[in-house]
Each structure stands twice: as structure tokens, then as C-alpha cells.
Assembly symmetry: C2
Homo-oligomer: 505 residues x 2
């Protein structure tokens, strides 16, 4: 997806090197790690998202009742999707941390990295096993084996990199505390596998315990993130010391490189957008027999059948595209992604990954109109959460705007109000649609499609408005509350609503 | 997936801007186009590849004979896959050309680009229609409509960019021939849609003609590429004039930015690698009923059933990963991708996209052992072609090494022999495996898996050898023909074999 915005922002850890230096690298046999990281991000993001396919492929034939077994199957698959997404993002964060330490790669590291990726791709399968056979310890055992394997590979990578110091990032290469740092990093990396080893042992005689341990492994990073964030909020963030172990300790507390967050997000958005067309091509090509029999050879009539599907497809693609667009605009103005922002981004992406479900929900209307209302509401909910978490990213960024944001979108900056509008559009639209379905439940589908199709124009309109009145943004700002729909008064919006009152400077 | 290697290499067309310039951009409302291009590359690469899924999902139940209808269905889907891959790469090349002219974007351009992407995603569907109803003109008509729509969006983008010149790339911004250049570019962009308009008209009364026109549209860029290449080979390449229309004309003749070729390729490799795990998770989780009935509750026994599938998965992932690795190593040393290299890369990627088929072929052994041999051979063939085209990229690069390659891998450079070994490994291995299956047809599966599993170690060994004897590369070079298997004597290898004789300097 997208690489570093500019080498200006990229630390040597990203390993960019001007063409001139390539041949030195070639002599050493080292390479810029940049493309490999991009490829890893792509792989991980696709793995994280692609498990939504089994969910959407759950066949619900028209005559068949939406019964218990079906619900159980669907729930199972959704569980697998969420767990996969969670664990993959955790593995991804660990991968970022690892390659903040390892600045350059050579072929051996590239191959080790491939091995690491391969092991990660097996995690979804262990989840499928766990969820299909909740009372058989094999699934969890295999999961633990995978995590341990990943740990081993990462230890190999670290050991190798520290053995050939020219592979380390520039700070470490010159650092005097290298040995101590290695210890520190190894401890960080081995934390998870150690817990999993215990879990694996437990799984042999008392596996509920190992489930508990697994959950700990998965949530460990998030817990520590939240904790450190709270500490930051309370104590005020500490200045990182000039060099040495502490520096790396604090670096590893802040493991998110903006470029890689962008790359990972791009991967998720791209794969979600394309999963949609896959469904279209696989399911919506009419069967020649039907065409000749039912429609007396008229293909157009046959395609007419699929009208709602295409409408749903356009709607969903527009939604994914515009959510990406909002994310893109936001991160254009982000200098540095904090842990909280990363967490919120992950949550947002998890819901974006759910959009094919929303698509399948809306396109299934034609088949079973009876539980249409529920389906529209599910779709609205998915879109709402995907977008509201994006909004939350910005809110979180504003709380530490001095370090996280470009001046333009800070509180009072000339793009501030525009960014607010961009990010508030989808939460409001989806809330509106949801509210509307409660009032006029009969037209729920129409309302939903109307929402999906009108939002793009709203975006264009926004841009035009700002073009016309870029100088008069303050005016626009005081004018906006009138333009904002009632749905606006949601929790996350409210706390920035206050911030939108003209700044006294 | 991976962005520019360094701003040093990236022309302003890529729109990178140091953090300092961000706020100017914000004032103008312009943005670096870099991330949007990465996202587009990701989208296009996934769309191009994902149509292999219907092919692999073609169910072949054990009892059912591999009969005519099945063959027809399979052929249909493969045709759709290839056509899609071809047309998407064409659209992608056009997109590159477009954003070589447009340096920076603003929100309107970003939205227009999304619209363009959306239209492109519809092309696969029109193909499905064409192939399913070859004698109904609707499919081709819709295809033409799509192409025309894409053309319209591209014209809008160009018009918009030329209307706000600060959006153009730096050369054009300062160029005096801007108007003339716009004409030139518009003509280039409208060539395809114009042909398609004719095709659409023909499709209404005499549609075979429109198929002919469609093929012209698809192959036009390739034909012109080949032509210009031949001219270059014969006349010797002409120096591009210093500035103005001619410069852009020649730029547009050379439409491949190395970064975007890498990004597109990464996308294909990443999606292919992850499609594999999707199959594993969807198909290879045993059914609880079976486990209790057939295996008396022993899940391990049930999983034993799937042994071959996992072997096949590991093999395929390793293959995809290592093909990416070879591609990565090659492009590390590529300065500039010519048209021929781009074409060869596309061909290589088309076969890489076919690897999930190879996987499904190999993993289907358990089900129907009788046509096992054919399947192994198909897999070998796919791998062979995917890798031999990679080799061809390098060969093509060597023909113009002064401009295309870093000194290290040029003929006589210290990495030359190593690169040769890297790129020759898979062609040789797959040829060997193929040959072996002809001799010992009974053990074909074993041979194939052996090949897939031994190659990674071969790669590691290669690296070690070079590590040990980097200074003695010449020696290694004269020594290699002994190490190379007989399969080596394939066409593409032969013509560089000669180049491998020690250079006299």
C-alpha cells in the first residue's frame, strides 16, 4: 500500500537509502527493509480481513428458516473473524516493534520474515478449530504451538540482527547499551510465547485455563497500551531520555510508525472493496438455463432480477471508498500515531472488515424481505461504528495535538472544521438512516440506499463549500451546528462539539 | 504495497513532500498523491488476481467424472481470470500514465480516482457475462460502456488538473507547451474509449465485429510496446529531448514507474499467498458429525485426513513467498523498469495468480488419485512459467543494463552470478520435477512436494555460499555450471549462460 510519505519523516529504521548507497548495501549484502515491510503489511492486513468471507458465504436459502443452527454457524464464523482480526493486529504490532530495532535486512532476514508470515497465516485455522470444537483442547494447543513458533522466528531475527550490527537501526548501531537493549527486546518478544507455553501445557490436562492464558496473550498489548495511556494522561507524558536502553524502552512503548499504520489500513480497505466485486461475479451471473426458461432468452430481464444487488454493490463500494478517503485525509494531517490512535484505528478497521457482511445483508433483501428491517439496521450499525471510530482517532489526536497533528487541523487550524465535517458525515448519515428506519420502517431499504448514494455527493459538496469559503472557515464553523443533523448529539461528537466553539486567539 | 524506495529516486510526479511543505499543501488544499497511488495499486492488483477464486472453487466431487460440462465451466472461469488480469493491467498502465502527468491531488481528484476504481471493478463482471453468454451482445456492450465511463472519468481528471496547474507535476507546471501536451494526453486517453464506442455501436447489430475491436483495445498498449521496443533494438534508443511535448510523449511511451510496478506486484503476491489460507480455513475444518462418527471423536485422526492439504499449503506458500523474494531481490537492483520488463512482469504475475489453482490441484490429490500425474504437471508448469518470466525480466534488463540495472548485478558485477542463481533456481527446480515425473510417474506427488520443500533450503544455501565466498564470486561463477542441473539448458537460461562466462575486466 503506501510507503513512507517522505524520507524526511522516515527514521533509518525504515531503511530508505539513496540510490548512491545501494551498491555499498550490495557489497554488505544488505537491503532497504522498506519494500519487505510493505509486503508484510499487505499480507497481514489481507489475512486479518479475509476471514470475513466464510461469514458472508454462509448460505441462507430463501425457503430455509433462519434457524438456530444457522445462527450458531454465523456466530461461530463471526467469532473466528473477530479473533483473527485481533490476533493478527497484535502480531502486526509486534512485527512493527521488531523492525524498529532491525533497520536493514539481508536475504536471510527476508527469508526468516517469510517464515514468520507463514506461521501467522496459520493462526486463523487454529481459531476455526477452536470455535468448531470448543471442548477439544487440540485447537488451543495448535494455537500455542503457532505463537511459540512465531516467537522462535522473531528471536532468531533479533539474534541474527544483533550478531551483524550493521543490520540494526542507526541509533542502536552506535548505541553503547546494545547488549542490554537486546536483553530488553528479547524479554518483550518472549513474553507472549512464554505465556503460550504455559497454555499449551495446561491444554493437555486443564484446557479452560489455557483459554484464559490465550486471552491474556491477545489482550496484553492492549492492556499495557491503555495503562500507559492513562499514566500519560495523569502524570503527563515523560520526555524520552537522550539515548540508550530507556530510549528503546520508550520507543517500544510507542510501537506505531505512521507509515505502517497507513499501509495496514490501505490493505484492509483495498481487500474489503474487492471482496465485494468477487461476490458479484460469483453469484450474480444468471444461469443460462434460467434465462432461456424463465425469461424467454432475454438476458436484460434476467439481469433486472439482480438490480438490488448492483445497487447494494455501488453503495458498499462507495462506503468503503469514502471511509478510506476520510482515513486518508485524516492521516495526511497526522504527524505521529499514538497507541490510542492505533487501537481506535484497529477497531475502526475491524468494522470496515465487516462491511462485506453489510453488503451481503443488503443484497439479500430480494431473497427474504421479512427480516429486511433488522438487516438494514445491522448495516447502519456497522457503518456507524466503522466511521465513529475514525472520528475517535481524530479526537484522540486532538488531545495531544501538539505532537500528533499538523497545525492545519489542530483546534483552530484552517482545516479543523472541514476535517470535523468530513469525519462526522458518515456517523451522522448512518445514525440518521437508522433513526429513519425506526420511524418509516416500511421504506427502510430505500432509506438505506438513499443514504449510501447521497453521501458521496455530500463529500463533493463539502469540498466545494470549503473551496468557496476557505477564508471564511470561522463563519462556516459557527454556521455548521445548524447544518448538523440531530443524530450529531452522539457521545464522541459531543466532546469535540465543545472544542469547535471559536478559539480565543 | 511498497511505496517509493526513496525520494531521491521519486520524481515530483510521485508527489512526495517534506513535512515542512505539508501546510502549504493544506492551504492550497492539495495533497501528496503518494498514498492514493499505493491504494489504487493495491485495489487493482487484488481485482486482477481475485478472479482466480471462482476457478479454484469449482467443485470436483470424488464420484463425479471430470466430464465435458465440468471442463467447460473450468475453461470459462480460467478465460475470465486471464481476460480480467489482462484488462486490469492495461487499465493500471493507463492509470500510471495519468498520474505521471498529475503530480498532486486534492479531494476532488481523490474522489474522481475512487470513481475510476469503481468502474474498473465492474470489468470482471462484464467478462463473466461475455463468457457465460458468448452469443448475447449485452456483455460486450456493458464492457464498452465501462471502458467509456473510465475514459470519461480520466478526461475529467485531466481537465481538472490542467485547470488548476499547481496539481500538475513540476515539469509540466513550468512547461510552455502545456496546452499542446494536454491535447496529446487527451488523445492518448481517448484512444481506447473511442474504439469501444465503435464496438458498442457494432454490438447492437453485428457483435462479432465488436469482439474484434475489444481485443484491439486490450492489446493496443502491448502491440505499441512491442513495436517501440523493436524500434529501440533496431535503431538504438533515442535520447529524450530536453523539455516540452516531445519529452512527455517519450515519458508516456515509458509509462512504468518502478515503485508502482513493485507496489502492483506486491499486491498480487500478497493476495495470492492469503487466498491459500482462506481455502484451508473454509474447507479443511472437519465436520463435528464426521469426527464423532467416522473417527470416534478423535480430532487428531480427523486432521490426519487433511495431512496432504497442509503439505500442499506449506509448499504453495513457500513458492509464492520465494517467488516474491526473487522478485524483490531483482527489483532491488533495478533502476528503471522498461516496457518489456513491465510486460514480462505482467506475464509472470498472471502465472503467480494461477498458483492457488496449483495448490487446489495438489491438495485435491487425496480426493482423486487417478489423474494425479496431470495435476502435478500442471502445477510444475505454472511454477515454471511464473519463474521463467521473472528470469526473462532480468535478461531483458541486462540487454539495456546501463540504464536499467545497478552496477552490482550488471554483467560482471559482484552480485551478477548470485542473482542468476536466485532467478534460475525455480525454473530449474520445476523443470527437474517435471522431468522426474516423466521418469518415475508413480512418485509424482512425492517428487513435487520434495521439490517445493527443498527449494527454500536451496535459497538459504545460496545465501550462505555467497556469504562464504563473496570475494571468490568469479570462482563460484566458473564453478556453477557444474552445480546447475541439466534442466538448466532451457532457452531463456541459455542466452545468459553465455553472458556468465567471466567478463574480461
Amino acid at each position: 500500500m503506501s510507503g513512507p510519505q517522505s524520507t524526511g519523516q522516515v527514521p533509518d529504521a525504515q531503511g530508505d537509502s539513496p540510490p548512491g548507497r545501494r551498491d555499498e548495501d550490495a557489497k554488505e549484502g544488505t537491503q532497504s527493509s522498506h519494500r519487505m515491510l510493505g509486503f508484510s503489511d499487505a499480507l497481514l492486513s489481507i489475512i486479518a480481513t479475509v476471514m470475513i468471507l466464510p461469514v458472508t458465504h454462509t448460505e441462507i436459502s430463501p425457503e430455509q428458516e433462519f434457524d438456530k443452527s444457522m445462527q450458531k454457524l454465523l456466530a461461530t464464523r463471526i467469532a473466528v473473524y473477530l479473533m483473527t482480526f485481533l490476533i493478527v493486529t497484535v502480531a502486526w504490532a509486534a512485527h512493527i516493534r521488531l523492525f524498529q530495532v532491525v533497520g536493514k535486512i539481508d536475504d536471510t532476514l527476508a527469508l526468516l520474515n517469510l517464515a514468520c508470515m507463514m506461521t501467522i497465516t496459520l493462526l486463523p485455522y487454529t481459531f476455526s478449530l477452536m470455535v468448531t470444537f470448543p471442548d477439544v483442547p487440540l485447537g488451543i494447543f495448535l494455537f500455542c504451538v503457532c505463537v511459540i513458533a512465531i516467537g522462535v522466528v522473531q528471536v532468531l531475527i533479533i539474534g541474527y540482527a544483533f550478531h551483524f550490527p550493521y543490520l540494526l537501526n542507526s541509533q542502536l548501531r552506535t548505541s553503547t547499551h546494545r547488549a542490554a537493549t537486546r536483553q530488553h527486546i528479547l524479554l518483550l518478544v518472549l513474553r507472549g510465547p512464554a505465556l503460550c507455553f504455559a497454555a499449551a501445557v495446561f491444554s493437555l490436562f486443564f484446557f479452560p485455563m489455557s483459554y484464559l492464558l490465550m486471552v491474556t496473550v491477545i489482550f496484553l498489548p492492549y492492556i499495557s497500551k491503555a495503562a500507559s495511556w492513562c499514566r500519560d494522561r495523569l502524570v503527563g507524558r515523560r520526555q524520552p531520555p537522550d539515548h540508550g536502553v530507556e530510549l528503546f524502552a520508550s520507543d517500544l512503548q510507542e510501537p506505531l510508525s505512521k507509515e505502517r499504520v497507513e499501509a495496514f489500513s490501505d490493505g484492509v480497505y483495498a481487500i474489503v472493496a474487492t471482496l465485494l466485486i468477487l461476490d458479484i461475479c460469483e453469484d450474480n451471473v444468471p444461469d443460462p438455463k434460467d434465462v432461456t426458461e424463465k425469461f424467454r432468452g432475454s438476458l436484460v430481464a434476467a439481469l433486472g432480477e439482480y438490480g438490488p444487488h448492483f445497487l447494494a454493490y455501488f453503495g458498499s463500494f462507495a462506503t468503503v471508498g469514502l471511509l478510506w478517503f476520510a482515513h486518508h485525509s485524516l492521516f495526511l494531517h497526522v504527524r505521529k500515531a499514538t497507541q490510542v490512535m492505533g487501537l481506535l484505528n484497529t477497531l475502526s478497521l475491524a468494522f470496515v472488515g465487516g462491511l462485506p457482511l453489510a453488503y451481503q445483508q443488503t443484497s439479500a433483501f430480494a431473497r427474504q424481505p421479512r427480516d429486511e428491517l433488522e438487516r438494514v439496521r445491522i448495516s447502519c450499525a456497522i457503518i456507524f461504528f466503522a466511521s465513529i471510530f475514525q472520528f475517535a482517532i481524530w479526537t484522540a489526536a486532538l488531545l495531544r495535538q501538539a505532537e500528533t497533528l499538523q497545525p492545519a487541523v489542530r483546534f483552530g487550524g484552517q482545516e479543523h472544521a472541514f476535517m470535523f465535517a468530513k469525519l462526522a458525515l458518515y456517523p451522522c448519515a448512518s445514525l440518521l438512516a437508522f433513526a429513519a428506519t425506526c420511524l418509516l420502517s416500511r421504506f427502510s431499504t430505500t432509506i438505506f440506499h438513499l443514504m449510501q448514494i447521497s453521501v458521496p455527493f455530500a463529500f463533493l459538496l463539502l469540498r466545494l463549500l470549503v473551496r468557496l469559503a476557505l477564508v471564511a472557515l470561522r463563519g462556516l464553523q459557527s454556521l455548521r451546528p445548524a447544518r448538523l443533523p440531530p443524530g450529531q448529539a452522539s457521545a464522541a461528537d459531543a466532546d469535540t462539539q465543545s472544542q469547535l466553539l471559536p478559539a480565543s486567539r
